[in-house]
Symmetry: C2
Subunit: 418 residues, 2 copies
């Protein structure tokens, strides 16, 4: 029986999440006897709850294909974690109501940990609310912290951006170090897991040996050891490049970035491991330093996406459709790394029950003894994920964006309040 599909993007976006969307929409067209239209939720699952369903069949094939090169979330994302079915039955009943009204039999949810949890809950609607649905979660997160999958689509591109930026900025600092800047700090994302900071170590593949220090959320910050190491590196190398996770914590488990700095208004200054460390270096070492915070730039830098990552992102979209039409429910297409020395990968289904709410941190075995770097094992894992370039088309000097129509399906239900 032919059913429509609902697809939504959730949580923090990546530079290749729309490549997953494009691949999924195009793959769905191959199963005309089973899948009708693909509706994309405006602003993620909110779009389902508010009955704001974007009809992707109204977009040209060119527009759909162009999603492959579009960072951000083409249909809008949201941060909203559904509670348990028992706790907030109202939301789930609304979902079923919308699904029924629009003949939706496939639910694709493209996100990270929280989203896998939501998708897992939705997958239970079939039994608990007696509404048949094939629910597939699709991995996406620059944090690379999903369980089971070897890596997460979105991470490889962020890693490539970070490794490249670290290498480029290191050459800059090295140039200036004789008479000016001695220390450079790059702050990257990663509140609980240090995958992104770790990826900066791939810059060492160039002629430079930067970054000299990597600060991970997995290792408690020791101010004395930090200061002493920076001092030593500047003494021997002439300069020091540090890449720090936003989530670096002190021994009490508090974020450095949230420690007791006050702004002009007496409010605690949130965010900014980099300015915190800069301040520390100013005070303790009196070394001229510069700092950068890459924030959203690192997760939206589609212009320097990893081709490998892009292929992963497309593959999980394609396999999500295949699993759904096979009648699977409550699974996620995950990336499986081959056992050969040469990097190979394939996609397999994994149960959401084992993925929802599990957070995969950087393993201890990837971290150097002194805690200020990652080791060869980490490099071996990370290296293949940033391989290959996949440049977008440019127009007027910047990446070209196709205009999307984003036409919503006519509403059939009364308004509903969150």
């Amino acid at each position: 029986m032919k059913k429509n599909a609902f697809y939504a993007q959730s949580g923090g976006v990546t530079s290749v999440i729309n490549a997953t969307a494009a691949a999924l929409i195009l793959e769905a067209k191959k199963y005309k006897s089973k899948i009708g239209k693909v509706y994309a939720g405006r602003n993620g699952i909110l779009g389902a709850l508010k009955e704001e369903l974007i009809d992707t069949s109204k977009e040209s094939i060119t527009a759909i294909k162009s999603l492959k090169a579009r960072p951000g979330s083409a249909f809008g994302s949201c941060r909203l974690k559904l509670k348990d079915l028992e706790e907030s039955k109202r939301e789930y009943e609304r979902l079923v109501e919308v699904f029924k009204a629009h003949n939706i039999g496939y639910f694709f949810y493209n996100g990270g940990n929280d989203s896998a949890d939501t998708a897992f809950k939705v997958s239970q609607i079939s039994k608990k609310l007696d509404y048949p649905i094939n629910c597939i979660a699709i991995p996406k997160t620059v944090d690379n912290d999903l369980a089971i999958t070897d890596c997460c689509p979105g991470f490889g591109s962020a890693a490539k951006y970070i490794a490249t930026s670290t290498m480029e900025a290191s050459l800059d600092v090295e140039s200036m170090s004789e008479t000016s800047t001695k220390v450079f700090i790059l702050e990257v994302m990663g509140r609980n897991a240090g995958w992104m900071a770790a990826s900066s170590a791939l810059a060492k593949n160039s002629a430079t040996d930067a970054p000299h220090m990597i600060l991970l959320p997995e290792v408690a910050f020791n101010q004395q050891k930090f200061i002493s190491k920076v001092k030593n590196i500047v003494k021997t190398k002439g300069y020091c490049v540090i890449v720090a996770s936003e989530g670096v914590k002190n021994s009490k488990g508090n974020f450095l970035a949230e420690s007791d700095r006050k702004d002009a208004f007496g409010h605690t200054q949130l965010g900014g491991v980099a300015p915190y460390l800069s301040s520390l270096i100013n005070t303790k070492l009196k070394l001229k330093n510069h700092w950068a915070v890459s924030d959203y730039l690192q997760r939206s830098a589609r212009h320097i996406a990893s081709k490998t990552d892009l292929l992963h992102a497309e593959a999980v979209g394609i396999h999500a459709v295949r699993y759904a039409v096979k009648g699977m429910n409550g699974v996620m297409p995950v990336i499986v790394r081959g056992k050969e020395d040469k990097y190979t990968w394939s996609i397999e289904p994994a149960p959401l029950s084992k993925i929802a709410n599990v957070e995969k941190k950087l393993p201890k075995s990837f971290i150097s003894k002194d805690g200020f770097n990652v080791n060869a094992k980490a490099i071996k894992y990370l290296q293949p994920l940033i391989l290959g370039e996949a440049y977008p088309k440019f127009l007027n000097g910047i990446p070209k964006l196709e205009k999307l129509k984003l036409i919503e399906v006519k509403k059939k239900l009364p308004k509903w309040k969150i």
Copy 2:
């Protein structure tokens, strides 16, 4: 008579300054009867004073050509402004001593305002210290603030990075704005001139209309107007993207980034217009916001260099050699824009006396009425400078770097202290 050449890079580096070096070194090889070897100063003019002269003839042609794709300063740069000949005769006499010892008759100085000043002073050695030298300054600065030249090599690539990053991050913020981030602030370089912040307006060429606000050092910051405008934009658009120059000042002429914030140690927190504005938005509007500081990333992002900028950088290197062998002294090859609607450009010599120490700010006629943006006239000027891509080669997922030998010429003089 055959003379050797001295080439040095000075001040803050750019992603294409080594392209100028490569072009100059290769062009010099064409004038074998006039130019012997090209010696590059290790760490800029310090290399001349300390007799640390890198013999570029020891590098392979492949290595020289690879400089075209290498950010930073391949030979090291420095921040050192020579005083007047009368005030610090010792330095100039040392220069002459080193030039004599190594038969140097050509002096190429690749830098910004301060460097043009130094080059201008060196050009006077011929007369004042009776040592014949052809001194040519070569433009380079991401700040784009040199007089006479239509633009400065290095700027176009930084501008392309900023426009692209603004566009990409804007799509990210737009995606998240329904339930999360409403305001995004990108801090860019430009202490006195707003050229780099202005270039973010080129992001508007895409389907997005971000950035919504640009804060320039040329316009005094008005907190009330700022807050009111941010509030209004978030109300109408759902989100607001702000690009701010590091050099934004309040009405008293003080940098916002240096205003009275204290760090954990009670020291004034230097740097960071973005966190300052973020804090302001937290306090006054209570809107969730994110901020990024691109710092060195923007001036070393060779991976997203502008092809037009790269061609400019090469052309000024080539013309510097041509001017020198023609016997010119105290000039700079500048970029002249054609008068046609279609962008054309050529290189002409301009006297250093008119360039040294002059700072070209963003003209008032480029700034929108309310001071929070740039207008069509600015876009028309900026647009051609970011056109074209010039990707480096990649190896192992990051830009490939050739190893340089950096072999110094044997010293002939006793040590000398700065």
